[in-house]
Amino acid sequence: MIDLRGVHKSFGPNQVLRGVDLHVPKGQSMVIIGGSGTGKSVLLKCVLGLVTPDAGTITVDGTDVTRSDRDAFLARFGMLFQGAALFDSLPVWQNVAFRLLRGSLKRPKGQARAIAIDKLQRVGLGPEVADRFPAELSGGMQKRVGLARAIATDPEIIFFDEPTTGLDPIMAGVINDLIREIVVDMGATTMTITHDMTSVRSIADQVAMLHGGQIRWVGAKDAVFDSADPYVTQFVNGLADGPIETLR
């Protein structure tokens, strides 16, 4: 479904992606792991067209993402950002129903609100949250609202950028379970970025490790924990000693 071939991206002298090749099959949950600053978020942004790769091709269902109709292309996606990226000036329900209130997917306001409240309930938030503003919510609640927004239009493809970062272990577990539930129920194709191995266990069908600007390892979820690759072993087990350089 999603194919990346030889994707390169530099920011000035900093070569972030150095030829990424990755295939994400339809209906699969691909989790991308890797250290901080290895370009995981940049990779997702390249697929979405938020960042333009310097070289390489990215296709979704065989169509080059740079040549597709942007509106139709983006309508297939949902994205949960690391900090939720909710719009401060809008109440929660309008954040969730943002796409349903404007553009090609526009619905009557009442219908959009009903869908938003339904999606909020889907992520464990009651209708009383709908009229609050993002600043009035806790971090965990903001993540849930971001999740509700990502699934508001039942997209085929959902990206999750560090879904559990900054959350306590219990809330992280709740978010992981929600993501897995949504992925299974909706049959969506997903890409998740994380360095939380609990999330990997909960969410992944397949795991890819990004290191040195390239995909270092890719395989099934269970295999990642038994991998003989020293980079994967060091990362998965959180070891200070190993081939991945650490600053101390």
Binding site: R70, L74, M79, F81, F87, D88, F98, G103, L105, R149
Partner: protein, 258 residues
């Protein structure tokens, strides 16, 4: 020597590239105002923020400036027995120059800074990226409504500033300098010409547009973190103020040097 020339060349190229980016941004923003989709709610909110909420600061600034101008002209005019020109000079000074420039600088201080900070915060918290993934063009959703509000509110604010500035001069003139109210008003109205008022309003359009464009441009190009937001806000206000003063000179030259 070669190193010096290279650095001059590099600086010039960077300056021209920046200017080019700014010009392209301005053209795209103005085009976005007239191309659908239109976001009525955003335009209304921007008009409220840029226009209505700026009225008090503009009004107070204009009244005090007009009043001070009357005192200065009276004191200066007394040196060569020209005290009687206070109404005419206050009127021409406020309408041609001080009204538009004060409004421009007040919009730069109040609106440009808030727009830049707001948009820059949206940038660093990935809200701009979120807008794009939600199939919404930030140029149309964020920039066009604010720039439109600047273009519409600018001349209205200038008209208010002109009137209140003249009123400030009128108050001082009639209450402290013994001018006859009827004569003061007649002299003011008789002296002003249509080009005076037209140039004032045109400057209002230009300054409103510059102030909001700068806020949006620097906000969308903000660097990372709180430092990026601070730098964007500072740069936007400086750029807006300098461009407003430069545009004021250019427009004055166009209107009054024939």
């Amino acid at each position: 020597m070669i190193g010096f020339l290279a650095s001059v060349g590099a600086t010039t190229l960077a300056l021209l590239a920046g200017l080019g980016r700014l010009m392209i941004f301005a053209a795209s923003s103005l085009a976005a105002i007239v191309r659908p989709p239109f976001y009525g709610r955003e335009v209304a909110l921007a008009l409220l923020n840029v226009g209505y909420l700026t009225l008090p600061v503009v009004g107070l600034t204009a009244v005090f400036t007009g009043a001070a101008l009357a005192l200065q002209i009276y004191a200066g005019g007394a040196r060569f027995n020209a005290e009687a020109v206070v109404p005419q000079i206050v009127a021409i000074g406020m309408v041609r120059e001080l009204g538009p420039v004060l409004v421009g600088l007040m919009i730069a201080a109040r609106v440009t800074s808030s727009v830049a900070a707001e948009v820059a915060t949206m940038k660093v918290t990935e809200q701009i990226d979120a807008l794009v993934t939600l199939s919404t063009d930030p140029l149309r959703y964020l920039v066009a409504p604010r720039v439109l509000a600047g273009l519409v509110s600018g001349p209205v604010l200038v008209a208010v500033a002109d009137a209140l500035g003249i009123f400030g001069g009128f108050l001082v003139g009639t209450q402290a300098l013994d001018f006859n109210p009827t004569t003061y008003l007649r002299n003011t109205v008789d002296f002003l010409t249509l080009p005076d008022v037209t140039s004032s309003l045109v400057k209002g359009v230009a300054f409103g547009g510059i102030a909001t464009l700068m806020g949006c441009y620097f906000g969308l190009n903000a660097g990372r973190g709180a430092q990026g937001v601070g730098a964007a806000t500072k740069s936007s206000v400086v750029a807006a103020a300098v461009l407003i003063l430069a545009a004021n000179f250019a427009l004055t030259a166009v209107f009054f040097t024939a």
